[in-house]
């Protein structure tokens, strides 16, 4: 179910930086990207460093100007708006950063109040909203503290409170957890989940950390060299990546099919036949698969792979080393093929 107009829509957007040296080549940071993000989505954008993710997200609130294409926020093209007219647009788009970017000269409370000052809200109104936001992020007791007295996780929570102070419909998260340790990352991700659920804020998450997408996003776009090379439901992209760059990314969190060198290692250790089975969602019943294998006495050992879960849906690949006589194995594999994809590797 998508709303008639997406909250954010990029149409054939490009960003080209002119050559820095005379006679040099222009640098294309974003190359003809089209993307549509519905209200309520948590949309992940992943890719290696330099893929153009940070530039892309800055085109949305026009911190950077696109050189071609349209950027529609709630159906209105903001790409060419003069700086002055961008002010109300930006008040409706919160942003959080990898390095938090808090004002060190201001207390936590006054940092959160900053966008409200820009919005021209009066003092009592500001105080009320700041208290609400600090309560929401669990930092009510830190209102009078300065950013340099906070931990990284606390700073990012202040960042989130500041970004949401003006009740924006959209939140841009630029590598928001990349500077945090795993436990703090988890806390911040949980907080962002609540932001999406409780306030209905649409979130665009830029990250190179796949597990951020895995826990937070519902949809994902994979970027490579300024282009979006793959997009879709997180589950689909993770369980069945179509592009090699996406597959490389997925393999950083999900152990899938063994690579050539890994296979050589397995070969050296196991004398039997080696097969990889794909498990995806509830369509493949593991109990039945293993039941079919062992029915006629085929012995097997799991030698590689794993099962992951995204939004409660399991998927993954398991590589098995099978021992038994060849005909029995063939017959067993034929029965398993009726249930799932079987790849025999040699």
């Amino acid at each position: 179910m998508s709303s008639p107009t997406p909250l954010v829509e990029l149409r054939n957007v490009s960003k080209v930086y002119p050559a820095t040296v005379k006679g040099g080549a222009d640098v294309t940071a974003i190359d003809d990207v089209s993307l549509s993000i519905d209200a309520g989505d948590v949309y992940g954008i992943i890719g290696y460093s330099g893929a153009g993710k940070s530039t892309l997200v800055r085109l949305v609130n026009v911190l950077e100007r696109s050189t071609a294409g349209q950027i529609l926020i709630d159906g209105r093209d903001v790409a060419r708006l003069p700086e002055r007219e961008l002010r109300p647009v930006r008040l409706g788009i919160g942003m959080i950063f990898q390095q938090f970017n808090l004002l060190n000269s201001r207390t936590v409370a006054r940092n959160v109040a900053y966008p409200l000052e820009v919005a021209g809200r009066d003092k009592s109104d500001r105080a009320k909203r700041v208290a609400e936001m600090l309560d929401f992020v669990g930092l009510a007791d830190k209102a009078g503290a300065y950013p340099d007295q906070l931990s990284g996780g606390q700073k990012q929570r202040v960042g989130i409170a500041r970004a949401l102070a003006t009740s924006p419909a959209l939140l841009l998260a630029d590598e928001a957890t990349s500077a945090l340790d795993p436990e703090t990352t988890h806390e911040v991700l949980e907080l962002l989940k609540r932001v999406n659920r409780e306030f209905g804020v649409t979130i665009i998450v830029i990250t190179h950390e796949m597990d951020v997408i895995q826990t937070l996003a519902t949809k994902v776009a994979v970027m490579d060299q300024g282009r979006v090379i793959e997009r879709g439901d997180v589950f689909d992209v993770f369980s069945n990546p179509q592009q090699s760059a996406s597959a490389r990314f997925v393999s950083t969190v999900v152990k899938g099919v063994p690579s050539r060198p890994e296979l050589d290692v397995l070969r050296a250790r196991h004398t039997g036949r080696i097969v990889t089975l794909a498990f995806r969602d509830d369509t493949v019943d593991q109990t039945r698969v293993f039941g079919e294998l062992s029915r006629d006495g085929v012995a097997f050992q799991v030698v590689y792979g794993g099962i992951n879960e995204i939004q409660g849906r399991p998927f993954g690949h398991l590589t098995l080393a099978l021992t038994g006589d060849n005909e029995t194995i063939d017959a067993a594999l034929d029965r398993v093929r009726a249930l799932t994809t079987v790849t025999e590797v040699r």
Binding site: L86, R87, R90, L91, Q99, L103, Y114, P115, V118
Partner: protein
Amino acid sequence: MDNLITLLPELWIAAGETLYIVGLTLLFGGFGGLILGLGLYLTRAGSILANRAVFSTINVLVNTVRPIPFIIFLAAAQPLARVAVGTGIGNNAIIFTIALAAMFAIARIVEQNLLTVTPGVIEAARSVGAGPVRIIFTVLLPEALGPLILGYTFIFVALVDMSAVAGYIGGGGLGAFALLYGYRQFDPVVTWAAVLLIIVFVQLVQFLGNWLARKALRR
């Protein structure tokens, strides 16, 4: 020593004049330098008001004026002083000339201290819709306040140094006092009395500057 005692009233007047000259030059030069420094920072490539022509103009101007030895600048700027303050000699002329020269030095110091503000913080302010003027007053200056205070303290010492040559164009102050009653009368005690007072001034101001900067940085 006897000479110094008889000269004490003159010494106090000279000390007052030094404070007067340095105070006013710090005020005018400091303000002018702040504007120029902000101009340099804001118009440099990639900054919020990036403008190559304006940046280059200020940059070249600063680089041209700064290397001129002050005593030569004092002579060279005399016609300018006549136009601006109506006289080429005396305290008003020296205040004008020091403020002018200091402005360019201060511009560089202001620019460098503003560059210590993380660009990300500016970006965060832009992302909530803050315009350039708001960013200057609510982000740039407050975030760089500590280093700026230390920069201005440093400049104060340079201004005391510059004010010492005021005597050359008929100005007063401790420099003129030391030259007139100490150096030319072959009386090192008198010279050293002036030196001592200058040291005391500089120490006091440095102490004040450090204290203010610490307060601004909350350390």
